[in-house]
């Protein structure tokens, strides 16, 4: 009995420690964000941020786009099977448009970015921990959070919402192509229908979500990296854990945000 309570206690402490570490790092990261801004911040951090934007954002466009196109087709086809039976095939347009802007666009993007960049963050920082580079930064009077994390955070906060928009556009276009081939609906009419069915709130709520997802991916990825102790095997484990934990937390955050938007009536 004692061992059971002991192990429950130990597991609880471990998780509390993780949450504590994550919140401390989040606060430090938000405060360090100013250093990465252009003009007012440190220009070397801004340059690093631009490099990160290319890596997190620009290089992810093909993958995010393709995932969104596939997602759009899947959503349209699955919706059409059911809606055709009640003679409401037209509602596929609403389903794809609203489904993507509010939910699938940001979520698919976050999963892609977490797989591509979250793992890269933890591998990079983990390797820096193992090779004493993080210690070297600190003794050279650099703050690792500001030097390493802030550019990544700023870059993710800018690029993840942009990727979400790209994802939305690709997904909606895929829906349009499906409608064109299955009901001969003109693409221009389709786009008009899309614009009437989505409201500004849908887009905004999607973008708010994607900001939260970006925060989760960067901070979980970096925390996993900073917690690496030991050798190369620890780096490998941290990479796996970064992807698993950030994907999990992204979905949890998605539920929370969706619930908030649902109950506050912002659709």
């Amino acid at each position: 009995m004692a061992t059971l309570t002991e192990s429950i206690g130990r597991a609880t402490l471990k998780h509390l420690d993780y949450v504590g570490g994550l919140s401390t790092q989040l606060w430090a990261g938000v405060r360090a964000l100013g250093a990465a801004l252009p003009v007012t911040g440190n220009r070397y951090r801004w340059k690093a941020s631009i490099r990160q934007m290319l890596e997190i954002g620009v290089q992810a466009i093909p993958m995010v786009g393709l995932m969104a196109v596939c997602g759009g087709f899947i959503l349209a086809m699955q919706g059409a099977t059911e809606l055709r039976r009640v003679g409401a095939l037209h509602y596929v347009i609403d389903l794809v448009a609203v489904g993507f802007t509010r939910e699938l666009g940001p979520l698919l993007t976050a999963i892609a970015v977490s797989g591509r960049s979250g793992s890269a963050f933890s591998a990079e920082i983990g390797t820096m921990m193992v090779t004493e580079e993080v210690d070297a930064l600190r003794v050279m009077a650099f703050e690792p959070i500001e030097f390493v994390l802030a550019p990544k955070y700023l870059a993710a906060l800018i690029t993840v919402p942009c990727l979400s928009i790209i994802s939305n556009v690709c997904g909606i276009l895929a829906g349009g192509i499906f409608m064109f081939f299955s009901t001969d609906l003109d693409l221009r009419l389709y786009l008009q229908d899309v614009l009437t069915s989505i409201q500004l709130q849908d887009v905004v709520s999607g973008l708010i979500k994607s900001l939260a997802f970006a925060t989760i991916i960067v901070h979980v990825g970096c925390l996993e990296g900073f917690r690496v102790r030991g050798g190369p095997d620890a780096v490998g484990r941290s990479t796996t854990s970064a992807v698993v934990k950030s994907t999990f937390l992204v979905i949890v955050a998605d539920v929370v945000f969706t619930a908030i938007f649902y109950f506050t009536g912002r659709r």
Binding site: Y44, E132, E133, D135, A136, V139, M140, A141, F142
Partner: protein, 267 residues
């Protein structure tokens, strides 16, 4: 007044005492070698001298400032007068050797780029790497990496230069070259040098004074001759390279005897 004074430093990890009430004064302009076997706590002591970790109790005064208790800005100021060459060199792999050395100059001083280039070249020339500045760390040999790390440690003209295991993993010739470099730097720049090592020849060549660590406390602190002529059993054991009784020699011998006998019987 001594440039570094350590008072009653106690360090514990998970209740295990690693450093047990160390007291040591390091004078301006001397070369202090921290000598000890693996697990003696010498690297831990070093990490506390450069302020990477906070002790359980005790104080480390660097130029009169207690770095175990001071504020972050004060710690940063102290760190700018300490240059550290890490055991694994800890050069930033994403930057060229030149950029590695230029990094602290660019960010911590307001020097013009042309002056920085000149200073980087000078630091590289001091360690004999003037024509290798454009290379990346992974293109350098082990000895060159260590020398590049020394050049980076010298970048801000520190008053205190710290070496963690300078000769670890190097062949005897390159290790001897590095020892000469340390002597030369000390003569040329009048720096205070702290070297952590377990290599006796290197320790006796470069040291003014040696502090001998054993299981977290000092066995002796004194000049080379004092250490060499010491009668303390552990110091004699270290200097005369007498193996410890970790391997349980008796048991091993008995095992081999039995094995040889059994082989003879089967034959």
């Amino acid at each position: 007044m001594s440039i570094i004074s350590i008072r009653d430093l106690v360090v514990e990890y998970d209740g295990r005492r690693v450093l047990d009430g160390l007291t040591l004064d390091i004078e301006q302009g001397e070369t202090m070698v921290l000598l000890g076997g693996s697990g003696s706590g010498k690297s831990t002591l070093l990490r506390h001298i450069i302020g990477l970790e906070r002790p359980r109790s005790g104080s480390v005064l660097v130029k009169g400032i207690d770095i175990t208790r001071c504020s972050q800005p004060e710690l940063k100021r102290v760190r700018r007068c300490i240059g550290v060459a890490f055991q694994s060199a800890a050069l930033f792999n994403s930057l060229s050797v030149e950029d590695n050395i230029a990094l602290p100059l660019r960010e911590h001083t307001s020097l013009a780029p042309s002056i920085i280039d000149l200073m980087v070249w000078m630091k590289l020339a001091v360690v004999g790497l003037a024509e290798f500045g454009k290379l990346h760390p992974q293109e350098l040999s082990g000895g060159m990496k260590k020398r590049a790390a020394v050049a980076r440690a010298l970048a801000l003209d520190p008053e205190i230069l710290v070496f963690d295991e300078p000769s670890a993993g190097l062949d005897p010739i390159v290790a001897a070259e590095l020892d000469e470099l340390i002597r030369l730097l000390k003569q040329a720049f009048q720096m205070t040098v702290i070297v952590v090592t377990h290599e006796l020849p290197s320790a006796f060549r470069i040291a003014d004074r040696i502090a001998m660590l054993y299981k977290g406390s000092f066995l002796a602190v004194g000049t080379k001759d004092q250490i060499r002529s010491s009668e303390h059993p552990h110091i004699r054991q270290f200097i005369d390279r007498v193996p410890g009784n970790i391997a349980q020699t008796r048991a091993v011998e008995a095992y081999f005897e039995e094995y040889v006998q059994s082989q003879e019987v089967t034959r």
